[in-house]
């Protein structure tokens, strides 16, 4: 598997503030890489450096094998991007906006333009939008149009910053389905988000950014691997403790944590002893727990000077 995005010691300093502080991203072909972090943790600055919009203070970015920003003209046509919300010319129609965007750079063949535009509008669910100017679109429609712009040249890599912003729950599910379908077709997806629940349903790899530092970068399956404990829900926790002497590690109301990575075996023991069991599952950490453990407090918080964090 070849590397799609690689950064080495990437730093962006704004005056004394280190917005991005030496991060080493590693996104491989076929990943759905979810880039997580609180607001202000440096996600957007990183995304902008990947695309050559912001120039790094030091460190390097390799995108599809080319050094950015120098290789931009060669590699960016193979990348589709949605950066911090969509932006269009309000007085023009969606179709026209896509045509202008396609014509303003290399790699978008004029002969196939109309069919490509029709295809992506169909894909994002805007096929019937007609000649309405974009200023009459709802926020969700603009988001869909932005996504259509990213898909226009069948990119190998999609870089999406908060792609489901402004969408209703149905829209979010629809876009998730579309992204998963593209992923099955071989598109690598780099998704930056702070919506953990959404990410958990899609990601294959996760990177967590905290105050400009990459505090975690791992396969999702490894992060949420079973802990070797079984969670038992029962109305009579004290009887579980009596039955599985010594294996009970914690009791929290009706929830009992039992040592052992085979729920069937735990269940058999409890049923034999006649202990009623209302629920049974392997314990897995949620992505939220993992992320909160790795990252500190929200960077929206502005603490008083001299306070101890």
């Amino acid at each position: 598997m070849s590397a799609v995005i690689v950064t080495r010691g990437l730093v962006k300093r704004y005056g004394r503030l280190r917005a991005v502080d030496g991060i080493d991203l590693d996104v491989r072909e076929g990943d759905v890489y979810c880039f997580l972090g609180a607001n202000g943790s440096g996600k957007t600055t990183t995304v902008r450096m990947l695309l050559g919009l912001v120039l790094p203070t030091s460190g390097e970015v390799e995108l599809l094998g080319g050094r950015m920003p120098r290789a931009g003209r060669r590699v960016l046509p193979r990348v589709g991007a949605l950066i911090e919300g969509p932006a269009h010319y309000g007085h023009l129609s969606g179709r026209e906006n896509l045509a202008l965007l396609d014509a303003s750079g290399p790699g978008g063949r004029r002969r196939t333009r109309r069919t490509r535009i029709a295809e992506v509008l169909e894909q994002v669910g805007l096929a019937g939008v007609g000649r309405r100017p974009v200023k009459a679109y709802s926020l969700g429609m603009r988001q869909r149009l932005g996504l259509a712009g990213a898909l226009l040249r069948r990119p190998e890599l999609l870089v999406l910053d908060e792609p489901t912003n402004g969408l209703d729950p149905q829209g979010i599910a629809e876009i998730r389905e579309l992204l998963l379908e593209l992923h099955r077709g071989g598109t690598t997806i780099f998704l930056s988000s702070h919506l953990l629940a959404e990410v958990e349903q899609m990601a294959t790899r996760v990177g967590v950014l905290d105050r400009g530092r990459l505090v975690l970068q791992e396969q999702l399956t490894a992060l949420t691997a079973p802990t070797g404990r079984t969670v038992v829900h029962t109305p009579v926790p004290e009887r579980v403790r009596a039955t599985l002497d010594g294996r009970v590690q914690a009791v929290d109301g009706q929830r009992v944590l039992v040592k052992g990575d085979d729920p069937a075996e735990v269940n058999a023991l409890l049923v034999q002893a006649g202990v009623p069991v209302s629920g049974l599952a392997l314990e897995r950490p949620t992505l939220e727990e993992v992320v909160l453990a790795a990252a500190g407090s929200s960077t929206d918080r502005v603490e008083a000077r001299g306070s101890v964090r």
Binding site: L53, P77, I83, A87, Y89, L100, L101, G149
Partner: protein, 269 residues
Amino acid sequence: MIAVELRKLFRRPRTWATIAVLNALPIVVAVLLVITDLAPRPGEGPPFLSAVLTNGALYPLAALAIVLPLFLPIAVAAVAVDSVAGEAQAGTLRYLLARPAGRTRLLVAKLVAVVAFVLVTVLVVAVVGYVLGHTLFDAQPVAGTSVSGTSLTVQQLLGRTFLSIGYVTVSMCGVAAFALFFSTLTDSPLGATLGALAVLVASSLLFTLNAASPIAPYLPTRYWLSFVDFFRDPILWRDITRGLALQGVYVGVLLAAAWANFTTKDVTS
């Protein structure tokens, strides 16, 4: 890329609204002149205006002279700052650059579009002036009168009118260069427009000040009205060539600065 920028500019209702507003003033002036029959005396008011009642063929030039001090530069500045700052404010700049449009290419395409706008605007003003001159006033088709008092043939008049249009266009490119430079400095089109206008107002003001006479030859607005010299007999080239050279220097320096700034700046809009 250039075609895209031209399409964007001329498909925009605002562009045509600007041109329409710009032409309103010469139309109002022409109508008032016809109704009252009160032309400014020679040497007063905008150049050529004193002569149009006797010869409407000069009205295109009068129209240019009317809009040149304020209206035309404002229109040019307002359109030119949209090049970068306008795209930045709309958020479309990041998508253009990630497309990738290439920063230098984008700037060149924007520049060409702005120059096209200047040319179209100046031509429209001249054409509207021509129509007004030939419908509202007595145009003398045989010969126009030069400022020096001699007669010009129709060919001479026509040729010199086109030279004037070219000269005004070059002067406005200077304004466009200021606006383009300011528009790479900020994400606010309004701020950039005000910056460009501040330069022009300061320049016009200093020009009237005797104490500023040492720097007067270098003020960007110094030679704007020198297109009048095309209508002396023979043509007085001194100020015209100086004006062209001065605008050339301003355009060159400002575009280089705009390019240097734009190609190295972080796009965070």
